[in-house]
Subunit: 157 residues, 3 copies
C-alpha cells in the first residue's frame, strides 16, 4: 500500500467505527478490532495527572463481545440515537507493524422526543495494525473531556 | 480520474454543499444537482421502520429552484446563520455510472442575538454522478435524527 | 510535492492547529505561523457588512507570542478544556507562492464540573505558504457566527 492508501484506509476505519455505532450495528463494530484489542474510556483529567482511573475497560475482544451482549439486553431501557463527528485525524507514528493515530470527536444523543444534545467530546488515541490491506484497532483509548456518567446502558464512544 | 481523485472530488462536492448553504449562496447550491435530482428529508425513525413519511421532497431540480425562490421571500422573517460540519464520508458503492456515499452531519444555527445551538444532526445518503470530471448530486436523502420542525422558512440541510 | 501531498499537508496543518490548542500546547501552536503572520477574529456580521470591527488582532507573530504569554498568566482563572472539530476544508486558490483555504469549525468548552457546551462556530479563511514542504499560516482570519464575548482569558479559536 502507498502512504496515501494507508491514510485512506485509516480514515475509513474511523468512519466505519462511527457508522457502526450510530447505525446500531454493534456486532459489525466488533469486526473492527483484533482479538487481543484493548478498548478503554478514560477521563482526560485523570490521564493528564497520570492517575489510573478508567471509566470502562475491555482487555480483549471477548470482553467487548460481552459488552455488546449486555447492551442488547439493557438498551430496551435507553433508546436513543447516536451520532459521531470525527475530525483532525493525525497519524503520529507510522511503523511497519502499527500506526498511532489521534483524532477528536463529538457524540450527539437524540432522545425519543427528538431532542438532540452534545453527549460527549474528546479524543481517540488509537493503535492500528494492518492485517493484509485491512486496518484493525489493536488499542483504542477514548479520552473524554466531558464528565458524563457512563453506565451499563451506554453505547460505545 | 484515479480513485484518489474521485474521492477528493466527492469530498469537495460535500464541502461545497455545506459552504453554499452556510454562506447563503443557495443559487450556487442548485448547481451541485443534476436536472433530474431528487432531494428529500426523512426522519430516521420512519426510514428505519419502512414508513414513507418525508418532511420535504423535491422530485427534480425545478422543485428545488422553487424552494430557493420561496426561501428568498420568506427568510426576511427567519434570519439566522447556518453552519454545517460533515464527517465520516464513506463511498459505499463506486460504480462507473454513479457512487453511493454516506456521511454524518451536524448543523448549528446562530440567531440574531448571537446564540448558537445544535439545530439538527443526521446522515446524508447520496447518489453522485460524474459529468466529465465534475460530481453532481442525483439523489440526496437527508436522514434526520433530530425531530426539528422543518418549515417553509428552513434553509436546506 | 504532488497536489495530493499538498492537500494532505494543508489538512495536517489545520489538524495540528486544533490539536495544539486543545492539548494546551500553545507554544507549539505558535510554530504553525510565519513571523509576519496576521491572526484575527472577526464577527461574521461585520465582515459581511464590510465593517472593520475585529474582536482580536495580532499583526505579527510577536503579538501572538505576547498573547500566549498573557494566557499562561491569566488562565489560572479560566480553567476549561477546548475541543475543535474542523470540516469542509476547501482549497479555493492554489498558487505557487500561497494557498487560500476555507474551512468550518465548532469549538466546544468543557468546564471544571465536566459540563460541555458549544462555545463558538464559524469559518477559517486562511492564507498558507509552503516553506520547503512545510505549510505555515501567513494569515488566519477566524470568522465567528457566535457572538461569544472573547476576553483576555480566551484561548485561541
Amino acid at each position: 500500500m502507498t502512504p496515501v492508501e494507508r491514510r485512506a484506509a485509516i480514515e475509513r476505519l474511523l468512519a466505519d467505527h462511527a457508522w457502526c455505532i450510530d447505525q446500531d450495528r454493534l456486532e459489525e463494530w466488533l469486526d473492527l478490532f483484533t482479538e487481543d484489542a484493548v478498548y478503554k474510556i478514560v477521563p482526560r483529567e485523570n490521564l493528564e495527572q497520570g492517575l489510573p482511573l478508567t471509566l470502562f475497560i475491555a482487555e480483549n475482544k471477548n470482553m467487548l463481545r460481552d459488552r455488546v451482549t449486555s447492551l442488547r439486553k439493557a438498551n430496551i431501557y435507553n433508546i436513543h440515537y447516536d451520532r459521531h463527528l470525527i475530525s483532525g485525524i493525525r497519524v503520529v507514528e507510522d511503523g511497519a507493524a502499527a500506526c498511532a493515530v489521534e483524532a477528536s470527536f463529538a457524540v450527539f444523543h437524540t432522545d425519543q422526543e427528538g431532542g438532540t444534545r452534545v453527549f460527549s467530546v474528546g479524543a481517540y488515541r488509537d493503535r492500528i495494525v494492518f492485517v493484509g490491506d485491512r486496518p484493525l484497532f489493536r488499542e483504542k483509548i477514548v479520552v473524554v473531556d466531558t464528565a458524563a456518567v457512563l453506565t451499563l446502558l451506554s453505547t460505545p464512544l
